[in-house]
Symmetry: D2
Subunit: 434 residues, 4 copies
């Protein structure tokens, strides 16, 4: 966790205090269920709730763990210090540490996911607003970094919206993957604890009981979860790369908002750099790097080994905190992005008319010229633009083989921009259904 | 693609012949739609179907590509050799190469996924059969590789079934991710082609039109797809590792089927090695390795760059072929796995009674001993078993502090195996609902 | 292995024929050593060399393996068909399959590395030639995609040269990592074979004996090897990305060579796309993806498990073949890259003089203005260029606070390009020492 | 950074205080060099050293950065607060932020590497001591988890020693990779700063001048660096997996030291789990995960973009801290590992004599039986041991086809353990040369 790439709400979910609070709630709910089953006295179960408002003392628990070398036992010992060892003696009855640890991890992941969904909603709202704002702002489309045919800035935002909306749906599915709990005992057989306890605890925490657990909740769920975060991070990178390209000196079709007082370079006062989007590119790499260890965590030995634990202690908080930060950074970036429609036009006209080459090609074939000949005719005129800075339309009008097939008016008509944007509404209706 | 790790059905999906067939079908369906719109003559559209039964000549297409350095143009030139350049001149009208390439890739991925689903069904059927067969075969559960408490072999198969069933659901979702097509032209604006063409082509190929494409179908879909394959591969590894552990010389609770004539080692004739499950471990690594390049493919420049293409030429076939092979290898392995219930009992009894320690612990706390004291009492007797090979029950019966809290009969009762398997039905009902 | 991304020389190293040839040579050399030790009769050892010129029949060996399910045994059986089972009975004496397989893998990797080194030499030669050719071709340096200060195209090539030269040194080290062989028997104890056999076989094959092997050569060596290939691939990507940026329509400082007859787009005849460098970007991802499975291969169980084998069957050939192809593609690309010095000047002057802002800043501080004030003065004039297209020098000359510190002549002098290139020779001497 | 997996010495290297101290030293040394060149007054350079003993105020610097959004400018502003803005005005003259940042990162990595080398030395010493201690402790070698032939525990430690010694050599090389510094200005041309400054600063910090830098030090160096850490982590995992296997209940050939007061399980008091080695398996995954983002950092745009920065802020500290912790955890684990030679013998004899099968095979071929027949004879007797618990030697003596070729005495001799350990000294001499 890097403080400068962290938001407090997400950090709080992963604090030791939050963790111990959830541990406590699981134990207390489990005691309620055990009391309802008659396994432990109701009075003892009720007594556990006396610690309801306690903020657990992390330092004290660490101190105990230094002796026991076992974190859950350290916590239980500390809990007994709060509610009295007599009342505490039924706490954790029939449970194993992982019942607490795994269910807690999933509670934290669910809460983290809810924050991430909020972040995605902010990104989606920003993308949608900018898409409609620039629905008809014409801009050259590029493939391979080379001018292709006109499109609009609104379509660019719309496709990012569609991609992020897919990401949101994936994140909802990922939330369901990890919204399970398990209170099933040492090897998952419920030998010492009734399945009703699991059902009660899960219900109280908003989780689904894991249909079959071993000592742990199966890690294919978490692998899937982190894979989804990795895909979302890659979509963030996708947007970031587009902005970085737009802000290039030679392109300058958009620019990150540059606040008063901000300095672009310690050496070069003229600089205004796309540092937020570059940063998002790096953050995407950080989010993505959790996917491999999460996959390696799946194959635990027999009913469990603990190799996954250290991995999750790191990637649980780090990955969700980084993605959360990245989503809000991205949202702010999109909200305030400065867009230069005039530069878009300037760039598009850089090779005057060249971007209309396909239309001329099609018109020639329609007029009866073979596809191969049409391609040859168009290419030879296009190359003059490319190599000598000629005007494409002028060249075409001067090419006897071309004018043999197309009249000057027909050629002229091929250079109408509206031709390229006529389906923008169709596409918007697909992406933003009423 | 490694021939020894490939099944012909999956290999066929990725052959050049299959690819060109799909290219052809896309072009032909597009011509139909264009004719219906009145853009091209109906006769020309019909003429294209004359090549319906042609197996395209891969060598000839390669020959043309050597000149054009463009694969789709090479194919179109070859197609014209079949249907005549006059009738062929409207083929590909208003389309761009990626309309064909991307839609084809997704058709191939959909077909590959359908084969993978069949493979998963076979794995699921095998796991289910073995789960019910060994529902009550008692076996020691292990955490950290150390004996914990009894479970059953059926529960082991049942949890693998549940994990693979999750994998199957994820694969269905992944199929939906990539079951889209796009015929939207050079930068996705439908400038030169009506959206109706896309709708028709997609419908005929069993795809959904991509709501908004650029020159390409967005690659977050494919990243998600390969991530799902990677998770399934990790689940395969999970099962493989369990089998490898069971077959260890000292454990020998199960063994891969060893066919007559098979040789385990060129040097040591006595060997029977779990080579199939070890191989599955390696294959899992191969499937997983596609996840990073697939994620790196998401951030294409502007309306597309072609960096994703070489990646997909490799991981498209390699990853699906390897996973397909792995699923069938796993299914066969599970179907024929030789299981040794008697060895399971032998292993469980290796440290006589030790695995019942938790029950004694709980009984002591129930009898009024504090949790800390109970733990101490149990641990000190357990350590004698561990270190001196003592019998756990005998030690407990001889420990005055223990017998002060529990009668001999109560101690005796804690060593009943049925206690651990009483919820097997409950769990099976969760995993295999009627 | 994708044929279009493969060179025959590298493919040949990995053919079954090559593999069996090396297997044979290992067995034959081992027989020689065994005969010298008196373990087997000299006549039998000599007899083995009768197969010296045999090209082994891959189909026949596969046929035998279908029964034995063991590839080395299948080969030995086939070898006996060539030299007679009587003379063949001492072949493989005291060896285990892995002695042959692992030593062979390393022979193949060594040969592959030698080809890769040749490819790197071609890349280095091309980079060096272009560096000297454009040593003084002035070009704007960019950080964050934004104009910074002038540099030269020669320096760009020189830094790629330096990076690739580091890569070459790493590859030499990686070659040494995997240039070991092992003939140490079933668990590496030489129980049934004298260490002298290992020494002889390694010597004849140009390898070093592995100091301590188990059944296998340790896989940390191979992990390191593939990691080095991954780093080299990333350096290729680094160069490819630079070229892609240079060829962008708005930048056009360089362009991939476009051969006669080549077509850039099936739809847009005007296109000339940087497809080779984009392809290299993708190939880099493919090379890199082997690094994770190679790392996962390190922790084999006990004296070995066979999980690494399937991984290496794939990444051994695929990764070296892809990198080999990428190196030669890169070399050709650099050799023929079309460079546009006039466009470099045009781009640099786009924001007239702005790139000289740091010099003015330094001059102001030298003239006694505080660093903070100097920065403010430069930035306020720079912003006028940025926002209103003003000329930087003109603005500075009109700013009373600036001219209070610097004379017009001093300001003028700050716009001399030679100032920025005065250390080019120094740097070249570092990169290309005489 | 996870506190429980961190050692203070390594954490300190990455503290903001350490970082600012190095920034300061670079600036101060640069001022000395500039003064020596006559670029700035000697008095001002000397004045900078007044802050020599200052511990910089991290909170204050953060406060300034909140306005400037530029960390180096914030630091320089704060430095001026210490030495006076008049004396401070020549600080950073002609430099760019990255001159400071990149050189600092490398200083930190060099220091981190020196700590890691110390950690590796401790691991090596522990492995060597245990290797000699158990040089002749016989133990069954296993391939595929199946008993193969005898080896010794000392050989196991020796091979881990050899692997770690290779890791140490790689780490030395990796140290050289990143032990460079750059003070070359905005795009690496030394336009505003003499190369002599770089030389002086590097010399004072124990670095080599980067032969050619852009705005940054090239990131292929760092990719190589993190790849080496990843390989070392995999070697740690290799040892950890071996220990986990040895500690399995059924094997129990070794056990992690279990300290008084330690609790293995909250539920099962009898448990002693290999949690340290399992933890090392997880930590290895964490170290390895940095390799992909480090590779993705190589291809920065033009003379640099800042995408690498956030990645390095995370993986710089996290990866070195985790590996450092893992090395010391491993060293402690090896130093105190409890080894059970008697269990090693017990396990080896589990299938009485079966592990000698290869010797019998070889003896039969030596006695004139064909290789195929010998294999068949041995296998049929071995299978009786496997399937019916027979004694291998007894079966062989009762097999007429076997005794036709070998006398009882010859058969007897094949079961001598010394045969397998006769080359232990040879191997030790290779691994631990005098």
């Amino acid at each position: 966790m890097i403080p400068r790439y962290s938001r407090p709400d997400m950090v709080a979910i992963w604090s030791p205090e939050s963790k111990f609070k959830i541990w406590y709630e699981i134990e207390a709910h489990a005691c309620d269920a055990q009391a309802a089953l008659g396994v432990i006295p109701k009075a003892n179960a009720e007594a556990v709730w006396r610690a309801k408002d306690v903020t657990f003392d992390v330092a004290r628990i660490d101190e105990i763990e230094a002796v026991t070398k076992h974190d859950v036992i350290a916590f239980l010992t500390h809990l007994a210090e709060h509610i009295g060892s007599d009342d505490a003696r039924f706490v954790h009855q029939g449970m194993t540490s992982s019942d607490v640890l795994d269910t807690t991890l999933n509670v934290q992941l669910v809460r983290a996911t809810d924050l991430l969904l909020t972040g995605m909603d902010r990104v989606l709202a920003a993308l949608k607003a900018r898409a409609f704002e620039h629905k008809h702002t014409v801009r050259i489309g590029r493939s391979h970094g080379i001018h292709a045919e006109p499109t609009t800035m609104g379509l660019t935002f719309a496709r990012f919206y569609a991609e992020m909306a897919r990401g949101r749906a994936r994140l909802e599915a990922a939330r369901a993957e990890i919204a399970t709990g398990a209170i099933s005992g040492a090897v998952g057989t419920f030998a010492n604890i009734d399945p009703a306890v699991e059902e009660h605890v899960c219900k109280m925490l908003g989780l689904t009981p894991e249909p079959i657990s071993t000592q742990v909740i199966p890690r294919d769920r978490h692998a899937m979860y982190f894979a989804v975060l990795a895909v979302i991070a890659s979509s963030i990178e996708n947007i970031a790369i587009e902005i970085r390209h737009m802000q290039r000196t030679e392109v300058l079709e958009a620019e990150e908002f540059f606040s008063p007082g901000q300095k672009g370079s310690s050496a070069m006062p003229h600089k205004r750099n796309p540092v937020l989007s570059e940063n998002l590119t790096g953050l995407a790499r950080l989010v993505r790097m959790s996917v491999i260890p999460a996959l390696e965590n799946v194959a635990l030995w027999h009913e469990r080994d603990i190799s996954h634990s250290s991995v999750e202690r790191a990637i649980g908080p780090d990955t969700t905190i980084t993605l959360d930060f990245a989503l809000h950074r991205l949202a702010g970036l999109v909200e305030k992005l400065v867009i230069y429609p005039e530069n878009m036009l300037r760039n598009m006209n850089q090779f005057r008319g060249l971007v209309m080459s396909q239309r001329v090609l099609l018109a020639l074939t329609q007029a009866g010229v073979s596809r191969e000949d049409s391609y040859r005719l168009v290419q030879r005129n296009a190359m003059k633009v490319w190599e000598k800075g000629a005007d494409f339309k002028t060249e075409l009008l001067a090419d006897a083989e071309v004018t043999a097939a197309l009249s000057p008016a027909e050629i002229e008509e091929k250079f109408d921009l509206g031709y390229h944007t006529k389906h923008v509404d169709t596409i918007f209706n697909r992406v933003f259904p009423a």
